[in-house]
Symmetry: C2
Subunit: 211 residues, 2 copies
């Protein structure tokens, strides 16, 4: 089926385990996927490497990318810009890799609007109670932070309906497999197989006129 890569956007509640899920998926199917790296104007934190966690850009460089339409989507949070550089994503897709963007909801919906074939996946724990338990369980967050995260999750939940698929992250390995299957199945979408369908139509016409 289609040899061009799929674009998949993954969002989900903070505490749903997106990060762990991505790492496990990329480890298990390294040759299949490419993880998109975002650009940002925020300062690197300790241990963060340019070109690995983010492309760290100046305001000027970022503005230039916006002007040149070189970003799939971008947004501003707490005075810093974040965005997804087009070039890398399109190069990887052209090379047949399925590209995963881990971005928040507003960005995800913008990508879908621009590129309707994008697969939108929403990662969630099996229940709200479980989300709370995971946030509390980390032991690193204050009560205030937990309350903020839950409040944000409640807001984000309002957008779940606009995604394509729900990924319940209960048992990690199962969730990795489900995510892999969901993305791989997209290669069979009619919209991904225009060339195959055109060839089939053409060949059938030729056969009919030749017999």
């Amino acid at each position: 089926m289609s040899e061009k890569g799929i674009l998949a956007v993954v969002s989900g509640f903070s505490g749903a385990g997106k990060g762990t899920l991505m790492k496990a998926l990329l480890k298990k199917y390294e040759e299949r996927y490419a993880l998109s790296i975002s650009a940002t104007t925020r300062q690197p934190r300790e241990g963060e490497v340019h070109g690995r966690e983010y492309f760290f850009l100046t305001q000027e460089e970022f503005q230039q990318m916006i002007r040149e339409d070189a970003l799939i989507e971008h947004a501003c949070y707490v005075k810093n810009y974040y965005g997804t550089p087009k070039q890398y994503v399109f190069d990887q897709m052209a090379a047949g890799k399925d590209v995963i963007l881990e971005i928040e909801i507003q960005g995800a919906l913008k990508v879908k609007e621009k590129f309707p074939d994008t697969l939108l996946l929403f990662v969630t724990p099996p229940s709200a109670k479980e989300l709370e338990a995971r946030l509390v369980g980390r032991g690193t967050e204050t009560e205030d932070v937990i309350r903020d995260r839950l409040a944000r999750a409640a807001e984000e939940a309002e957008y779940m309906d606009q995604y394509d698929y729900i990924l319940v992250n209960d048992v990690l390995d199962d969730c990795v497999e489900q995510m892999h299957q969901l993305i791989q199945d997209q290669h069979q979408r009619v919209s991904e197989n225009g060339a195959f369908i055109s060839a089939m139509k053409q060949e059938l016409k030729e056969l009919v006129s030749s017999v």
Copy 2:
């Protein structure tokens, strides 16, 4: 995820191996699927059993089902009516079985129009040449019949774009697995998980107001 069954419609070229594919799928995952049985006014052929191949109805009985809106779709070919009784399909879906309808293209598109969550699968051989080879290889068809089948396939190919997924039937076992995966994936569709999403929204609101 969703416990209600999925409705999947399978169409495809004559000679694509739909029948064999269905049998293999139902044999392998017997507990998961129910195959919808069509109603028809045509005469039973030798060996066909009422309630197995078809529900064989009189014109009057069929007309009554139409009047009572008891059919998901129906059509008339060569003076005989064919249709899909609602009751069986809905009962099986309510019981959590994924229901498969094997019907031709016009019927498939009508079902999708009425029930947009229906999954439309189009079964095709890997190429037109292969389709011809399979039709010839049966050894049971005259040249005229083969020409008619190819002409019909050429017409049907025009509707492939309106399906959701293409299933290339090359190696049967692989195709069975792909079909199974595609249908099972649908249980994770946002549209199939309204109850889960509503519960998540509600629980998160309660948690936020309680902490």
